[in-house]
């Protein structure tokens, strides 16, 4: 037991916690309000996506004709808000094919999250490779790769994605591929920039002097430096990818009905906006919350990682 004597001056205990970039970042993230809100929302979404079959009162494709006393496009019915007890409860109403909207929204989180993670994962993989090669090799290789990527950046990204899907044919896989392709340049640029900044550092030179191969230097010495900005960019990118995928589905190029995808659900019922607004309202809110989660988390991560921005905020 430690006894504190009032007349003895004690020096404050030294902080022996690790001060590596990762540890510092981890600690800072939890101090960022936006990151914490983002993480909570995202955790909730992942939970819903995993446990959708347990949480959803109905199946995503379950047609309720003949099973329950419901009509096509019935508005939400919540018992505690005054909906008659003899009517079955459907908190987000019934869609045009007499299915429970709430269940479809819950299942929809699976598609959106998978699309976001896979499209961005693919783009990061290819982007990292291209950016690393461009930055490390330099010269004409760098020029060729970066000019090609500049051309991709010259297109508004959603427009290019739409054109690619229009050519490849509609469907969720092609939409995913298109979104991944249009996101590649952003990641390649991030990686190239960090490769260029550390290529000439003494520890890379030391690794070269020790006879490290190019791949070893690139993957073990240089690329770990580009991980933090990539994570920030990737987190924000997932939000954009989900938004773009929903937009593609909305115009009929992405996920096809009856798939429970939020953009498709919105697109299918958009003409009912004046008669059954709940069919447009809820899928839109679901997309917004998901994108918001990634945006808040991305912003929080950026503020935690980038000291320059941190001082500005």
């Amino acid at each position: 037991m430690k006894v504190k004597l009032p007349w003895v001056k004690t020096t404050p205990e030294k902080d022996y916690r690790s001060n590596s970039l990762w540890r510092l970042t981890q600690r800072r993230i939890f101090r960022q309000k936006s990151a914490v809100i983002g993480m909570t929302l995202l955790g909730l979404l992942i939970f819903i996506a995993i446990f959708a079959p347990l949480l959803a009162p109905y199946g995503p494709y379950e047609v309720l004709i003949g099973k329950e006393n419901v009509e096509k496009r019935d508005p939400p019915c919540i018992h505690i808000l005054g909906c008659p007890a003899d009517k079955p409860q459907h908190i987000m109403g019934i869609d045009g094919n007499v299915r429970d909207v709430f269940s479809r929204i819950l299942y929809g989180s699976r598609i959106s999250l998978v699309v976001g993670f896979v499209a961005v994962g693919f783009a990061i993989l290819i982007g990292t490779f291209l950016g690393a090669v461009a930055g490390y090799v330099g010269g004409s290789t760098d020029n060729v790769i970066m000019r090609i990527l500049d051309v991709l950046l010259a297109f508004p990204s959603l427009l290019l994605a739409i054109t690619i899907v229009a050519v490849l044919g509609k469907g969720i896989q092609n939409a995913l591929l298109a979104i991944a392709i249009v996101s590649i340049p952003a990641y390649a640029r991030v990686v190239r920039a960090s490769v260029l900044s550390v290529r000439e550092t003494s520890y890379v030179l030391a690794s070269k002097a020790l006879g490290g191969s190019h791949w070893h230097i690139l993957f073990n010495r240089i690329l770990p430096n580009s991980t933090p900005p990539l994570i920030v960019r990737g987190t924000l990118g997932i939000g954009v990818a989900i938004l773009d995928a929903a937009a593609l589905s909305f115009i009929g190029l992405g996920a096809q009905p009856p798939l429970a995808e939020w953009g498709t659900m919105l697109g299918q019922e958009r003409n009912q906006i004046f008669t059954a607004p709940h069919l447009v309202l809820f899928p839109g809110i679901a997309i917004m919350i998901t994108v918001l989660a990634f945006n808040l988390l991305g912003d929080g991560l950026r503020d935690a990682i980038d000291p320059r921005l941190r001082s500005a905020e």
Binding site: S34, R147, I148, D150, V151, L152, A154, F155, P156, S157, L158, L159, L160, I162, T163, I164, A166, V167, L168, G169, G239, L243, A246, A247, F250, I251, G252, L253, G263, L266, R270, I273, F274, P277, V280, L281, P283, G284, I287, M288, I289, V291, L292, N295, L296, D299, L309, S311, A312, E313
Partner: protein, 358 residues
């Protein structure tokens, strides 16, 4: 200055060439026979043979690209399969609506977004700042088409009140915009560049009604554009507000701001003359980039609000697999995007004189 502008213009050429290569390659990547993809499954072998020779599809790829580029430089984007009309003519009819919609949206986002960002930065951590940032975060996360539908619904509920706004169309039925060249008695032969030129400007309804003094058409066309422009403006507005805030915060902690304050200058003078002027560069950059979002958003917004602009046309073309339109419109939008970003680059000289010297 002219040297800088010329250098920027020259740098845009390879990008434009790249855009042409990408759209050309995409059109050649259409799975299956290009003739059947373009003309439909029912095209006979005879028709296909004629089609192949007419479009030079039997020639080597580099030659095909040469033909494609030469045609585009002449302003010939081919004929629409669905409408059997030149794509260029359709573009002349449709582009003005998108341009007016885009600029109105951009105007709203700048006029509202920049002051929001400045107030947020000046009153940092105040309820105004927190409110602005919450709005900005939600704004960037919203799907534009959803917001459009919700706005249409909200204003539908206001029907019968003076606040009601039309949810679709470009002009009310019965209201006709008379082209300025007809008012002024200018005669142009169709299929000439002069006609295309006059037609393009007369299809800018707001511009056309101002120069002809037709206030009824002006009021009606602006009224029809407000809802779609509001929907389209929300995301750029949120991004501009965020950018302005962080850029202003960065500048506000500089020594010269402290000096300006210490000199006893009025706070408005410090904010606008010393801080805002220096915070402008990243804001202008982001405004340039927002044009891309506006173009892509226009496609979705026009579809919802029944505006016959480029976006709506592109949507219809995608549904009907009308490739000449998809290809032509993509090239024009991408080139327009490059051009606007070029303008932004050039505007840097006026904002930051140091750039001219570099």
């Amino acid at each position: 200055m002219s040297k800088y502008v010329i250098r920027r213009l020259l740098l845009a050429i390879p990008v434009l060439l790249g855009i042409l290569i990408v759209t050309f390659s995409l059109s050649r990547m259409i799975p299956g026979d290009p003739c059947r993809a373009m003309l439909g499954e029912k095209a006979t072998a005879e028709v296909c043979a004629k089609f192949t020779t007419q479009f030079g599809l039997d020639k080597p790829i580099p030659v095909q690209f040469g033909i494609y580029m030469a045609n585009i430089l002449k302003g010939d984007f081919g004929n629409s399969i669905r409408y059997s009309r030149p794509v260029a003519l359709i573009m002349i009819e449709r582009l003005p609506t998108t341009i007016e919609l885009g600029f109105l949206a951009m105007l709203i986002s700048i006029i509202v977004g920049v002051p929001m960002g400045i107030i947020s930065a000046v009153r940092r951590n105040s309820p105004t700042d927190v409110g602005t940032m919450i709005f900005a975060n939600i704004g960037v996360s919203m799907p534009v088409y959803w917001l459009g539908l919700m706005l249409a619904y909200a204003f539908y509920l206001l029907k019968g009140t003076p606040f009601w706004l039309p949810p679709s169309g470009r002009l009310t039925a019965g209201v006709v915009s008379v082209p300025f060249y007809e008012v002024w008695g200018i005669v142009a032969d169709p299929n000439t560049a002069k006609y295309y030129f006059l037609e393009f400007f007369s299809n800018l309804y707001i511009f056309n009604s101002i120069i002809t003094g037709d206030w009824k058409v002006l009021g009606d066309s602006v009224k029809h554009l407000i809802l779609p422009a509001l929907a389209l403006a929300t995301i750029p507005l949120a991004i501009i507000a965020r950018m302005t805030r962080s850029s202003m915060l960065e500048v506000m902690k500089q020594d010269y701001i402290r000096t300006a304050k210490a000199k006893g200058l009025q706070s408005n003078l410090v904010i606008f003359k010393h801080a805002f002027r220096n915070a402008l560069l990243p804001i202008v950059t982001i405004v340039g980039l927002e044009f891309g979002i506006i173009f892509a958003g226009a496609l979705l917004t026009e579809t919802i609000f029944g505006l016959s602009g480029v976006g709506r046309m592109l949507y219809d073309a995608i549904t009907a697999r009308d490739f000449p339109i998809i290809q032509g419109f993509t090239v024009v939008i991408a080139a327009g995007y490059v051009f606007l970003n070029l303008m932004v680059d050039v505007s840097y000289i006026f904002i930051d004189p140091r750039i001219k010297l570099e």
